[in-house]
Amino acid sequence: MAGPATTPPRARRRPGADLLRIACLGVFVIFVLVPLYWMVITSIKPTSDYLAVPPVWFPAEPTIVHYTAALFSYRGLDGLINSLIVASAATVLSTVLGTLMAYSMARFDTGGQHLAFWVLSQRFLPPVAIVLPLFLLFRGWHLYDTHVGLIIVYTFITLPLSVWMMYAYFRQLPRSLEDAALVDGLSRWQALWMVAVPLAAPGIAAAAVFVFVAVWTEFFFALVLTSRHAFTLPTVFRAFLGFQGAQYGEACALATTSLVPSIALGILVQRHLVRGLTLGALRG
């Protein structure tokens, strides 16, 4: 790694190249940020300003009326709470089960290549192929429109993702660390818990974020498998596109609200996330 005192050769560039670089990054940032800005701004605009020409960049009279409507009249708050319950539980379950499975596959070659591929192949299945059977089964098992039902479904559909992310991570952890732990007097479970898991923390954190975001934004299964009780946040958005036209303010208010947990989680694990996504290539 180069010390901060030495000037890296890349810094000595022609100013033209620098400008081009800044311009490219600028376009990218605008592309990402402007829709977000428009969403937040629309959520506090009065209804008359939604589609005004010329566009209103900042409303003269900001309002929170869309938030109260979205959260209470349209039951957005219930959806938010349901989503938090379901996503948290599915994330914990998927990460714990995924860790155990990935460790077993990486260390003991459980199931050989076939199991590893079979796990991945679950992602090839179009959701529509299993949603109707699940709907029918869930009706019979009294899991329809329950948190437990959704948690089960989300745990299993995200498991391939978490298993594969952590499988790759565990495989590149040096085996000798766990060997040393075993000789030092730890049991296999202790070696997993005290040595392998702390070292795999970046991979586990990355997998957890992916699972959480996947569940948080999932619409299709939630739509089919819930109705009045366990409905999640994404399904609430249906209500904003009704016969009377689109409720842009309410939709944007709820969208803004729904971003908060994802951003909070991202900040929380940011330190681990980059290392997790590079699969430990930067392990020092």
Binding site: P174, S176, L177, D179, A180, L182, V183, G185, Q190, G284
Partner: protein, 366 residues
């Protein structure tokens, strides 16, 4: 403290029959070095003793107790790994103390013992650091500290010095030897480096293709190798191997290194009685047994020849010179100033009295 006894041990590892019927008896307190080229099964044998691999067949006894099927933690052995295997998320103190924590020793005891070991290894200042903040030699010391902190019955070392640079390796080698003298616990040490094996071992076990080729005290192996493989593996530079034919010469024997060459008197008379049909042999001559001839006559047992030096490799204290004997290249260990440049013709005394003789078919010593 315990002896280790291995009987008829077999082990397949990664699809290879890595250990093929090892019988080995290591007395209590001995420093045994398993040495051999890569892939000879020495590391697999060590891992099987540690319990990290299960034996396919055969038994392993530690202190008179059969440990097959016992978990590593119950075998009471400690191991130092090639890449140190320090836990990166724990401090030095945490690394050294983990085995005691796993055994639920009281906290004050752990602290005292960790400190005692750190003191012994001169790493007290490092106890609060993390492995990534340590140099290679310091990491090595921590790995050793982790092994000795719990007074195991047996120490296992898996090529512990191979990641260090040459100077540090010499230094740590001395420390490991001193450590054994201080605590005199049974140690089993795996290496592919014959110098480490020679300098550290009470006994060398030289392995090849999953079997023991020869075992014994280092100098016994060096001076009386049972096979060409052992003779070639131990010693640096390598022993010279010369094809020759034993012929009768009066009362004794002589060796002729090529058709039409003058036979040289050959003192190892034992060879004569046992040479196979035709008298074909391979003569093993260590570089230090060929030197520049000076004075009137060669010393007893040696013959003097005149040879042209083809290649000179000075090391400072010695110069290695290559010449040809009946067309076959021979490396001789000369004094630093014995030869100045290639092409020079000098007298060379070859001490055939110290030579080893091998059967060219089987490679076994005659």
């Amino acid at each position: 403290m315990a002896n280790v006894r291995i009987s008829a041990l077999h082990k397949h590892y990664a699809g290879v029959h890595a250990v093929r019927g090892i019988d080995l008896d290591i007395p209590d307190g001995e420093f045994t070095v398993l040495v051999g080229p890569s892939g000879c099964g020495k590391s697999t044998l060590l891992r099987t003793i540690a319990g990290l691999e299960d034996a396919d067949s055969g038994t392993i006894e530690i202190g008179g107790e059969i440990v097959n099927g016992m978990r590593p933690r119950d075998r009471d052995v400690a191991m130092v790994f090639q890449d140190y295997a320090l836990y990166p998320h724990m401090t030095v103190a945490g690394n050294i103390g983990l085995s005691l924590r796993a055994r639920r020793r009281p906290k004050p005891e752990i602290e005292t013992r960790v400190r005692g070991v750190a003191d012994m290894l001169g790493i007290v200042d490092l106890l609060g650091r993390y492995p990534r903040q340590l140099s290679g030699g310091q990491r090595q010391r921590v790995a050793i500290g982790r092994a000795i902190v719990r007074n195991p019955r047996v120490f296992l070392f898996d090529e512990p010095l191979s990641n260090l640079d040459a100077q540090l390796r010499d230094e740590m080698r001395g420390e490991i030897k001193r450590l054994h003298q201080d605590i005199s616990t049974t140690m089993i040490y795996v290496t592919h480096d014959q110098i480490e094996a020679m300098t550290l071992a009470d006994r060398i076990v030289l392995m090849r293709d999953g079997r023991i080729e020869q075992q014994g005290a280092p100098l016994d192996l060096f001076e009386q190798p049972a096979t060409m493989f052992v003779a070639g593996f131990l010693g640096s530079p390598q022993m010279n191997f010369l094809r020759g034919r034993i012929v009768r010469a009066g009362d004794g024997a002589a060796v002729r290194f090529g058709e039409g060459e003058t036979p040289l008197p050959f003192p190892p008379a034992r060879a004569l009685a046992t040479v196979p049909g035709g008298g074909e042999v391979i003569v093993g001559l260590r570089p230090e047994h060929a030197g520049r001839g000076s004075g009137g006559a060669p010393p007893p047992g040696a013959v003097r020849i005149e040879a042209e030096i083809e290649l000179v490799q000075p090391t400072g204290s010695r110069s290695y010179a290559t010449f040809r004997l009946a067309g076959q290249p021979v490396l001789a260990e000369l004094q630093a100033h014995d030869v100045s440049r290639p092409g020079e013709r000098i007298p060379i005394d070859i001490n055939l009295g110290r030579a080893a003789v091998f059967d060219p078919q089987t490679g076994k010593a005659l």
